[in-house]
Amino acid sequence: MLKTLGKRWREKFEFGIFTLPVLICIAVAFYIPFAMTIRYSMTKWNGISKHPKFVGLDNFKQIFAGDTNFSDAAWFTIKYAVLYIVIVNVLAILLAVLLDMKLRSTSWLRAAFFIPYILSLVIVGFIWKFIFMQGFNSLGESTGWAIFDLSWLGTPGLAFISILGVSIWQSIGFYLVIYIAGLQSVPEDLKEAATVDGAGPLRRFFSITLPLLAPSITISVFMALTNSIKVFDVILSLTGGGPGGTTYSIAYDIYRDTFQNNLYGYGTAKALILFLAVLAVTIIQLTVFKRREVEA
């Protein structure tokens, strides 16, 4: 009797020793700050005064009533996220299919497309800023192509395309690797059977490869979604929000309100809206995509 009681307590004690460190660290990094965020979102506060003024839901009303900065940034982020998710996944699947064939240079090619992913996004932004501002001059002179004479960071529409293109350039290698792994789990005999049944390459791709790639697509879209909604670093170093404030994302807008305009309470309210949006969109995405997956 005493012995079993002792054993139960020892097990509980051990459970605590193993799990408490991680719970404390996660609480410090996420839950405590998150609770404070909820509290601050209902205050008017400049970040300096000792007593933030409680204003209830006023910040949220103000944001939805007509904060053009926020709605512009939201629109930019939605456009960016949709295009980024579609383009990066389509390109990565195409490239993965090509690189899944037995070529002599396969390992070089995989490494080459992966390299930009190991660089920090801020640095990637600066490198491309240099290329758009200085490199395109020289390229224009030597090739005579008009495409290099356009102001890629100075015109609103083109600046958007530049940000999108640079982000895709940096991260495509990561998605490529996920899809190559997915392709390797597609059984060869299914493809052979389809070939015997007279299916051409395109038919084989759409009827066999693509459906069996569904788990990779789910994980890639999830990653692309969560990353693109939070886009910040590359904009900071590439356009700084310009020209004329047309390339602010929601994350950048929050950063600007809290750290540059000292609207702590107001910026925090925006941050909470961003969290709810991310939560809703990812839950919808995961349930929809999981339902469509098939087992190999």
């Binding site: 719970l23 996660i26 190991i118 801020v122 640095i123 929601i250 961003l274």
Partner: protein
């Protein structure tokens, strides 16, 4: 006949792909050659190769940003962060996966939920919490803070992996007299080697290159800055001196490129294991 036709097609395709990959890496090539040019040369022609290799840009930037110091900072932050993440996440994920109670389910959910919280939503209050705990403006403090930020993904990946290890292994080790940490470190942890590699790789690339958290936490003094932060402020001050800016870029990314070249095989395998498992 058809096989010959196929072979030719394959070679053409391969040539196209190799050319495409070179074009893909061309921006990095431009960065490197311009870091070896003088100011005048960068201004007159960006795409030309340097007339003679000048390493004076490197000497200048090395001195100006105090490169050894920043390198050490990055090293400490990444090292402290990594060791902690691996340790606290692996033991917790193991216990949570092995204990089948309602509590362990709830705690597991609490551990992985933060993956959905965008950092921008909490960055201000993270900064305040760090100040209250005396963790800000210190490289060690920043490293410690990464424990909490890296843990959710690490717990998630470890948890999935531990479930695949048969419980008989635990039982036989217990009969042999090992329990608690002894059991975990001499029996279970070695079995987690491949997934630990995955986590180490993902987290090294993330912490080494991270920008926003260091910007908020350790940007105050040159003693605590990181390489990416230094490159950021340096370029801000020297927007027209592109030769120095490009040199700073190369110097900030060089360590990760070197690591990549040595660990290339494991990195691609590691990302695959992490992503597909997850």
């Amino acid at each position: 006949m058809t096989t010959n036709h196929n072979k030719a097609g394959k070679i053409i395709l391969e040539v196209i792909l190799v050319l495409l990959s070179l074009l893909f890496l061309y921006p990095l090539f431009l960065t490197i050659i311009n870091s070896l040019k003088s100011f005048g040369e960068v201004m007159t022609d960006v795409i030309a190769l340097p007339q003679k290799l000048t390493f004076s840009n490197y000497a200048y930037v090395w001195e100006f940003i105090n490169y050894p110091r920043l390198f050490l900072n990055n090293f400490i932050i990444t090292g402290v962060g990594l060791l902690g993440i691996v340790f606290i996440s692996s033991i917790a994920a193991y216990k949570l996966a092995r204990t089948k109670t309602r509590w362990s389910g709830v705690l597991y959910f609490l551990c992985i939920m933060p993956m959905l919280i965008p950092f921008q939503s909490i960055m201000l209050t993270v900064l305040q919490t760090a100040k209250n705990l005396n963790l800000s403006e210190s490289t060690w403090g920043l490293g410690l803070l990464y424990w909490g930020f890296g843990a959710p993904l690490a717990v998630f990946i470890y948890h999935g992996f531990v479930k695949g290890i048969p419980t008989e292994i635990d039982e036989s080790a217990t009969i042999d007299g090992a329990s608690g940490f002894r059991l975990f470190f001499s029996v279970i942890f070695p079995l987690l080697k491949s997934v630990t590699t995955t986590i180490v790789i993902i987290d090294v690339m993330w912490i080494w290159n991270d920008f926003l958290l260091p910007l908020l936490m350790v940007n105050g003094s040159p003693e605590t800055k990181t390489l990416t932060l230094a490159a950021y402020t340096f370029v801000g001050q020297y927007t027209s001196d592109w030769q120095y800016a490009m040199t700073a870029m190369v110097m900030a990314v060089l360590p990760s490129i070197v690591v990549f070249i040595f660990l290339q095989k494991y990195i691609v395998k590691g990302v695959v294991a992490g992503a597909v498992k997850g």
